[in-house]
Symmetry: C2
Subunit: 652 residues, 2 copies
């Protein structure tokens, strides 16, 4: 290989190799890291600022006007105007240079599947090739037939495929035959097969196109959330993420929550508006992804969607009515593949849609995707997965069994149900630090505050109780704090005053907000405790705790434990994996094996019905305390609290 | 089982079991034997006459007026007015009670696959269930879901299917999900699955319909001949043939032979007219079958078509152009299944079309069907199959290898290229007997002669040479015979004079006709001889000789050998299997295993190119003699001839 340069991106600590002369903007895109580049890399928007931490790049004079003296001295450059020289470089991407969408989203710390070449190294314990996208493209350069080599056109294609993929049984759609004779002869016997890997042993040619189009093979992984829909564009050739977009689910106009949408769909409104709304939302995201990556819609040959059971049904145009009524039966849990065009998604005319399998009416494809993403089903260790959203979904198990339950957490963690709550998007307070009278807040995007997102609320609550501004029952006790005030008799903490906020309205957290948040976190913890106890287990038996959710880039694990949202387990056992629904969908996109594993997970997982469990309500009530009524469950939190109180007593 | 009565139908010697009270007409239909029943069994047309040979039936007085005294004494009854009593019966069906179509057709002596129940008896050596139609219906009575048994609708269907078919992996088309929730709940959880058996281990549900429709599951096997198209309606539940129809291929208007149709399709005419013509022909036959059986089009869930490579391409709307030009490449040989509706065939909207696999441009699905039908690929014995039509196709081999070749035989055997030639339909002379001045002819349908069909020509030629009316080179030598006359200097033999024929025109066989027939039979025998010799084999090495062709019900094996169309092998080794293309298609219709076997046959068979073989022309010339220039090749014919001459010398 020619002179390869290592480029390390911070804070992700992601390393990619590149060649001299490539721009940092391009190298970042290659690494799946998105840098704001409004002008498309022309050096005229100044949005793509990076800081060079070590090494050296060639920085063209073109962008210099966007940086001041001090910034230049600190090592800031514009990514699009900086080309690699011949030395390794380490750069840091400041928050303001992130694309806005990236911030709200949906980072997932899921292991990436390497492209085939990168797999060859280590000894794979998996019996089937791991990297084998559900749909991919194979270029075929066929030998021209002769009197001696007179296989039919289709058999010639099968033979070429079998040479590339021995041990695979090849089939073709009937439609492949139409005009095949001309296609081959008009294109010098060079065609690209769109291949659907039904499983590792049987692949299906869905269509054929002229020449070599294997460079244009993209897939879209979609997290079909009730509130937010996130779509990731994946280059199926390199297995790299090349774009991500998110937006509100347009279904919201027919009801905020799943239940009201089901009522709409099964009432006069009908199914169509809901189906169309989610399809339109996804198509809009796809449009942005296509424009952002500079590709064509027809380059997208594969979609994988992960959503809860109702969202999956609505996307597919299946009536969700029986999901809602006893005995709560979905039309399907493991979903047959569909043609994306048939469902209404815009991509290649022969693109396919696979849905992540659901377990039951209550446990959807988002959860099987989550299990797949964290890999708990592959490990003998006892793991738990908590996916925190409107529903707190919890899975406990290992490679032999999986049990899951679902607790209604309310909308607080997704920015609903609180006075200034908002989604984890630009302007949302995501980090809060209170030290005495001093307050520091950090917003997504770094600008003025517009509201508070889920992780901000958790941070804030943890700080308020640590500082003794609220007590362990969530009541305000330091009404004298300069940031505390009362409005209509309800105390509230002011994170940003009218003058400090983006909107001119104050950004606050009220005692009622804290009450709602308390219920949300109590529901999650109680659910987990009851589920574990029903299995004869305790928090301390867990070897691993995976936390997932659309909290933006970060969830502060320490603070989540301090408020009692997460159990008090050794911190090294806890791993925040971000949007695991999206991560699992992407895994399936890139690996038929993973998709089949998800189907096995769905069959294997048993559902534990929390609502009928007699102990749940008691546990819920006991958890309505910060961190918990039973202090012995949170020994490390108790310890820290005592230390703090000791410290304060000393200071006084 | 209740009191079962055996009914034997002659001349087929087919035995069926039935119960007291059933009419002979119904029982015959059950046996796949078609009896003319113009009035539909009302007893008012008198067409359904049968003769009771032994046993006794209850004959209602209703039909008595159609029979005269003598007939009643001889045991004639009307089938529709005769009900079984409690004794076994043997009946004979006179030719005039056959449906007209049945006479021209296409009898095939192929072993019938029994319905599942009849399989259970003997120890099957086949590792997979033999009776397992490519498409069939399965009725499912699902348990209503409860809180405890809360599988999704689709999983509930999978579970019920798995209970009926363990060891099968079940999948469903995405389209099955649409309205599935309503379908199940509106129909008391009773539905019928239309199942596509991809192979013995993987079945696909193509669609679901309300209630139990398993009674209405029919398939159509089609022999897509260049000249004649034959379609058979098969009850997939009982595996019985319940109807057969045939007609000219409407493509004939675009050219009589395959080559001229290819030229039309690839020239200005285009593919569409040819595709539409064959589809229309089949649909017309299907209409008759549907009307005849009193079923609905939507009861037809499966089509299997067998045709030569060009006919297969035209049916599927694939350009045949590359088949015709060097290096003679078809678009496909093994054909992916298609939706019948997509191809234009009328049946159930989800009916499928499977085509019998082709080997090459020259060896089509009709031949793989033939091999499948006679089963030569399953036997260690050395077998040959000769399919006599416009092309004489010959396959030689056993369970380890198969080699085939194709010789252009010309249209004589199909009724073309001779002065009074006609298809094997009503009025065709099919049997000829000449003894001195005496002439006996037998026509199909028993009426006056209209022309001569292939088997009639063979019969006639054999009689003429045996009687010494023509010599062994095919020249007329007995110009003094009362039935011989000369027209424009060409001698001809008169089978029916103007006054004896149906048309008022004489039915004759001319010296030129005999010359054409000679070329046809010479091509077939020479091809077979060259093929065998290229394999180091001789006629005497054959353990079995299967003869197939659309000759109507009978081909006289003895006479075929006497003229040298078939080699002079021990008669017990020769089996006439009729329309083996149709028979093989029906086997596939009834057995996924058989269809897969056909695909294996197509892959396994090698093609021997006769036209480039230097010895072929010499062999062809040597075979232009009755039976052959090399008399030692036909010892039994020589022997018979000598005996005959001795006898005659004695008589003189
Ligand atoms: S992308 Fe516009 S300045 Fe770099
Ligand atoms: S069918 Fe008409 S009389 Fe028997």
């Amino acid at each position: 290989m020619a002179n390869r340069i290592k480029v390390t991106f911070q804070p992700e600590n992601r390393v990619v190799e590149a060649g001299p002369g490539e721009t940092l903007l391009d190298v970042a895109a290659l690494a799946g890291i998105y840098i704001n580049s409004l002008c498309g890399g022309q050096g005229v928007c100044g949005k793509c600022r990076l800081k060079v931490l070590s090494g050296e790049v060639e920085f063209s004079s073109r962008g210099i006007g966007f940086l001041d003296r001090k910034e230049v001295d600190e090592g800031y450059v514009l990514a699009c105007q900086s080309t690699l020289k011949d030395r390794d470089v380490e750069v840091w991407i400041p928050p303001e240079s992130r694309r806005e969408e990236e911030q709200i989203l949906m980072v997932d710390n899921i292991v990436q599947y390497g492209a085939p070449s990168s797999q060859e190294a280590g000894a794979a314990p998996v019996p089937v090739p791991y990297y084998e996208p559900l749909c991919h493209k194979v270029f075929l350069k066929l030998p021209e037939p002769t009197l001696k080599d007179n296989l039919s056109d289709l058999e010639r294609i099968y033979r070429a495929l079998a040479q590339k993929f021995p041990d695979v049984k090849w089939e073709a759609d009937f439609a492949c035959l139409r005009n095949l004779a001309r296609l081959l002869r008009d294109n010098h016997w060079e065609v690209t097969a769109l291949v659907h890997a039904l499983d590792s042993h049987c692949h299906h040619v869905r269509s054929l196109e002229p020449g070599d189009t294997t460079r244009n093979a993209y897939g879209v992984a979609v997290d079909v959330g009730t509130t937010t829909i996130v779509a990731q564009l994946v280059d199926l050739k390199s297995s790299q993420v090349v774009g991500v977009e998110a937006s509100h689910n347009q279904q919201a106009r027919y009801g905020e929550d799943v239940i009201s949408r089901m009522i709409y769909a099964c009432g006069h409104g009908g199914l169509d508006p809901l189906k169309n709304a989610v399809v339109t939302t996804i198509n809009t995201l796809v449009n942005s992804l296509v424009a952002g990556a500079g590709i064509q819609h027809t380059d997208i040959i594969s979609f994988v969607a992960a959503g809860n059971t109702t969202m999956t049904h609505l996307l597919l145009g299946l009536e969700p009515c029986t999901i809602r009524l006893e005995p709560y039966i979905p039309t399907a849990t493991r979903i047959p593949w569909a043609r994306a065009a048939e469902v209404g998604l815009t991509g290649h005319p022969d693109a396919l849609l696979h849905c992540m399998p659901c377990v039951s009416s209550y446990v959807g494809g988002d959860i099987t995707a989550g299990v797949l993403a964290c890999g708990m089903n592959d490990s003998p260790q006892l793991s738990a997965l908590i996916d925190i959203g409107t529903n707190g979904e919890i899975v406990v198990g290992n490679n032999e069994w999986l049990v899951c339950c679902s607790a209604s957490a309310g909308p607080a963690f997704e920015g609903g149900g609180t006075k200034c709550g908002m989604r984890a998007t630009k302007g949302a307070v995501q980090k809060v630090r209170i030290r005495g009278d001093r307050l520091e807040i950090q917003t997504i995007g770094g600008g003025k505050a517009r509201g508070i997102c889920g992780s901000g609320l958790i941070d804030c609550m943890a700080e308020l109780v640590a500082e003794g501004i609220i007590d362990q029952s969530g009541k305000f006790v330091r009404l004298d704090h300069p940031r505390v005030r009362e409005v209509d008799g309800v105390p509230e903490f002011v994170l940003a005053k009218e003058t400090e906020s983006e909107t001119g309205e104050p950004v606050v957290i009220t005692e009622d907000d804290i009450g709602n948040l308390m219920k949300s976190k109590a529901a999650v913890l109680a659910a987990m405790k009851v589920l574990l106890e029903s299995l004869g287990l305790r928090f301390s038996d867990l070897d691993r705790l995976y936390v997932a959710g659309g909290f933006g880039a970060h969830l502060d694990i320490e603070k989540s434990i301090r408020i009692g949202l997460l159990p008090d387990v050794p911190r090294e056992k806890v791993l925040f994996i971000g949007n695991s629904s999206l991560g699992g969908a992407r895994q399936a996109l890139l690996s038929t094996h993973a998709y089949r594993k998800a189907n096995a997970i769905a069959r294997q997982m048993t559902y534990f019905e929390l609502s009928v469990h007699p102990g749940f309500m008691d546990e819920f009530v006991a958890a309505l305390f910060l961190p918990h009524t039973d202090q012995s469950l949170f020994p490390s939190v108790q310890e820290a609290l005592k230390n703090r109180q000791r410290e304060e007593a000393l200071l006084k």
